[in-house]
């Protein structure tokens, strides 16, 4: 795919700046943006309308696996988190950049390793001996070799593109698991609006990921 000269220059100019920040994914100006990501009560009520929601009035706590960062438009980021069995989680995304806010794509995925045995057969010729130990001909011998091969497969547990681009999701898990949150920052053809936004200068966007946790099903002795 070929780019216009303008686009090349745009990348050349913006990348050194954004890379310098994106190396760690952090920007001082962006700090704390994740606190603004929690859905409002109105949004939650609208989302829960008509659902048989399990009543749970335990408070939500901010989880320290939350993150904020500055990313190039169109960037894809993978955030590996650990979620504990029997705990409820809520993950939400936001950005002060109007080109990005509400349009962040995210998936919750898990890597599964599956093993399979691959069997190969090779036919070899072996000398045939008589009782005196003399070679009298050759036999064809089939040799079987079993090799265990492990494949890593990505299992998508949730994808917000199939859920009206919802910017948050509540979930619970019956086993402690390592989840990879795949985050895609929308690409922007027109970044001019951002030049006035100190948090999101043209070319890159500040994004927050808030993870919250709450006592979940089956928990006992919570204080």
């Amino acid at each position: 795919m070929y780019m216009t000269t303008f686009n090349k220059l745009f990348f050349a100019l913006s990348l050194p700046v954004s890379m310098a920040m994106a190396t760690t994914g952090f920007s001082q100006n962006c700090k704390g943006i994740e606190y603004d990501c929690a859905p409002t009560k109105k949004q939650l009520d609208a989302d829960n309308a008509g659902k048989e929601k399990n009543k749970n009035n335990y408070p939500w706590f901010q989880n320290n696996q939350s993150r904020f960062g500055t990313f190039v438009y169109g960037d894809t980021t993978f955030i590996n988190i650990v979620v504990y069995k029997g705990t409820n989680y809520r993950i939400s995304f936001c950005s002060p950049d109007k080109n990005v806010n509400g349009k962040i794509t995210f998936q919750l995925t898990e890597t599964k390793t599956t093993g399979e045995t691959i069997t190969t057969y090779t036919v070899k010729k072996e000398d045939k001996y008589n009782d005196e130990g003399q070679v009298v001909g050759q036999d064809e011998v089939t040799e079987r070799k079993d090799k265990r091969v492990y494949n890593k497969n990505e299992v998508v547990l949730y994808d917000n593109t199939t859920d009206n681009m919802k910017q948050w999701k509540e979930f619970t898990t019956d086993k402690t698991r390592k989840i990879t949150v795949k985050v895609i920052i929308p690409g922007s053809a027109n970044a001019s609006d951002n030049s006035k936004n100190k948090l999101s200068p043209a070319g890159y966007a500040c994004v927050g990921m808030l993870l919250q946790h709450q006592r979940g099903p089956g928990a006992t002795g919570w204080k």
Partner: protein, 294 residues
């Protein structure tokens, strides 16, 4: 690091392309730099490894049981042994985990002393998350309120974490995280007692394999630092023990239940007595090495 390479290539491209802006002929030269374009447009995705805090681990364990036992914590007097940055960073993590444990299990006055040592060490490590007078006042006011103390310790741990990450001191941060995790494991394994198949705390300890994997992946970013690399090597030995455990895999499924997404199936890690005891001993050895600054 690939990103740094890309940044250098980007800067070079910028330097090469700027003079080309006024001349038509040179623009053609710029147009032909397809190799550079490919690298610029296909940067390697960023991957982050997040690690649950000791506070979260203790909160989960407290749901099951356990008790506050000061003898499980690193004695405050050991602080004098930590003279270099490596031992200071590791033991800042250790004391932070002790503080989380003491706060979680309502050990008010003991917590106060650990708040002080964590505060001292954050100053020594030049972490701008030291407590001010108002925080100590809050601690004193809430000395018998474990939840409040836990929140304060959690906030401070998070501040220190963020500060180190923002200031690109990932090598120190990875040592802090490693020390905190080893201390949490030492405490929780001590609380679990002898191995029993049905012990839910041991089940939670087995789950720590995921956290350990994230810690090791996180440390890999800074393994050029010899201090980080030596600790990472020790932790990798623990992961080898975890990897000996039996793993049962069922199909991962997700679906709406009670108005929220419910994730089920997946991998379950099960220790047997031999592997558990091997891990127990290995954690003990690493922890001894850390707290004695060996």
């Amino acid at each position: 690091m690939k990103y740094n390479k890309i940044a250098i290539i980007s800067s070079l491209t910028l330097a090469i392309s700027l003079p080309a802006c006024d001349g038509g002929e040179k623009n053609d030269e710029f147009e032909n730099k397809d190799t550079t374009e490919q690298i610029l447009t296909e940067p390697e995705p960023q991957v982050f490894y997040q690690i649950p805090t000791p506070n979260e681990f203790f909160t989960v364990i407290k749901e099951i049981g356990g008790a506050g036992k000061q003898e499980l914590m690193n004695p405050l007097a050991n602080k004098e042994k930590y003279l270099d940055n490596k031992s200071k960073a590791l033991n800042f993590g250790v004391y932070s985990a002790d503080l989380a444990y003491a706060s979680c299990y309502d050990m008010g006055p003991i917590s106060f002393n650990y708040f002080k040592v964590v505060d001292d060490m954050s100053r020594e490590l030049d972490i701008n998350a030291a407590f001010d007078e108002s925080v100590f006042k809050r601690i004193e006011d809430n000395i018998n309120n474990g939840d409040s103390l836990l929140n304060i310790s959690n906030d401070k741990y998070f501040e220190a974490y963020s500060y180190l990450e923002e200031n690109e001191r990932g090598n120190i941060l990875s040592l802090v995280v490693a020390g905190g995790w080893v201390e949490s494991m030492h405490i929780v394994m001590s609380l679990a007692g002898k191995f029993a198949d049905s012990n839910p705390i041991i089940e939670r300890i087995a789950d720590q394999k995921y956290t350990l994997e994230n810690i090791i992946d996180f440390m890999s970013k800074y393994q050029d630092d010899s201090d980080v690399n030596s600790v990472k090597t020790d932790l990798a030995k623990l992961l080898d023990i975890f990897n000996k455990a039996e793993v049962s895999v069922t199909e991962s499924t997700s679906g709406e239940k009670d108005g929220q997404l419910s994730l089920s199936g997946g991998t379950e890690i099960k220790f047997n007595k031999e592997i558990y005891n091997e891990l127990l001993q290995a954690v003990k050895n690493i922890r001894t090495k850390i707290i004695n600054a060996e």
